[in-house]
Point group: C2
Chain length 207, copies 2
């Protein structure tokens, strides 16, 4: 599994001459790191008298952000797996008409999976961004920049995942499906853009 | 060393109740991953006839971006090391006036190191962003989204590093030093903002 490689090995694997792991897995990793930063800030806030009024809210977020951290960590490998499914579909025989039709259906099927996985990454990153707003506003002020970096990493993961949805949609023929996912990512990007500006402004105002 | 932990272990270490590793090391990791993505796109472009006219330019970039990938990987650990130096300085005795003056000088010294390391991270990420513009314009179009994610990760790393410069500058008393570093980061952020918009527009225009 990719996430069992050391960070150094993973970086080297990305930088190699193999197309996988690539931007999709890196986007998921960025999301996992963002959720971890949110969790760290909550862990360093809960139990401190100064922040007692926010304790219940922060604990409720942590229950969700731990799950997001674990899920986004799994997506690092799942993104590369769906990419490999697409590569395998392209390698199917294309000699007879039946072959061609089978291959084409397999490619379309794999492409849909390869578009849906980064859509899930983007949705999970958006949730982390919402939580990052809470931690930079109500979390331990000693961790202000950590919460801020959490927001940046979630936004980069989200935008990177959206690139991966879009590039795969380019090969999908089902127009209704394309329109549905395109509408989804537009909405996600819009909310993310607003959250990013808001969180960066909160962080910068406190330096 | 942090970069010898598996990605999964590193994510869990960030998400724990320890303040280190935190946003500074994550920002450096984001930069290292961005340089790796640039390198991957170059590796999957060089040698292909279709891109022959850009080959020389891309190889020249790769010579530098491999060094950036290695340097940013080292910064992952160095950022946490400088953070620990600050923590150690705060633990110095403060009983006598001489203690207090020694401790204060040690804190200021450690704070400067803790501001300068993320400044180096930000500068390195800016270089990667410049290279990402070239790879999304002249690199293998099959890797368009990878080059795009490279730009996003470099920008997140840069902005996260800038947060870490700023938070440490808040504890530094040397006004001339503060002004110099503040001017540096303003210039870096401005160029990065422009590059980010440009690269995202190039990527999105090709989907």
């Amino acid at each position: 599994m990719l996430v069992n490689l050391s960070s150094k090995e993973f970086i080297n694997a990305v930088g190699s001459n193999s197309p996988a792991p690539g931007g999709g897995s890196v986007a998921a990793l960025s999301g996992a790191l963002s959720a971890a930063l949110v969790n760290m800030v909550i862990n360093l806030t809960v139990g401190k008298e100064k922040y007692q009024e926010y304790e219940e809210e922060l604990i409720a977020i942590r229950d969700k952000s731990i799950e997001l951290q674990e899920r986004l960590t799994r997506y690092v490998d799942e993104d590369t797996q769906t990419f490999n499914l697409v590569m395998e579909a392209y390698k199917l025989p294309k000699e007879t008409d039946q072959d061609k039709s089978k291959r084409s259906a397999a490619i379309q099927d794999a492409m849909k999976k390869a578009a849906e996985l980064p859509l899930e990454v983007a949705k999970a990153c958006l949730e982390v961004m919402r939580f990052s707003e809470t931690v930079v506003s109500k979390g331990n002020t000693n961790c202000l920049s950590d919460g801020g970096v959490g927001c940046l990493m979630a936004h980069a993961g989200l935008q990177g995942a959206v690139f991966n949805v879009q590039i795969n949609l380019g090969s999908i023929k089902d127009e209704e499906y394309k329109q549905r996912l395109t509408a989804d990512i537009e909405q996600i990007e819009k909310e993310a853009e607003g959250l990013s500006k808001k969180v960066i402004a909160i962080v910068k105002s406190q330096f």
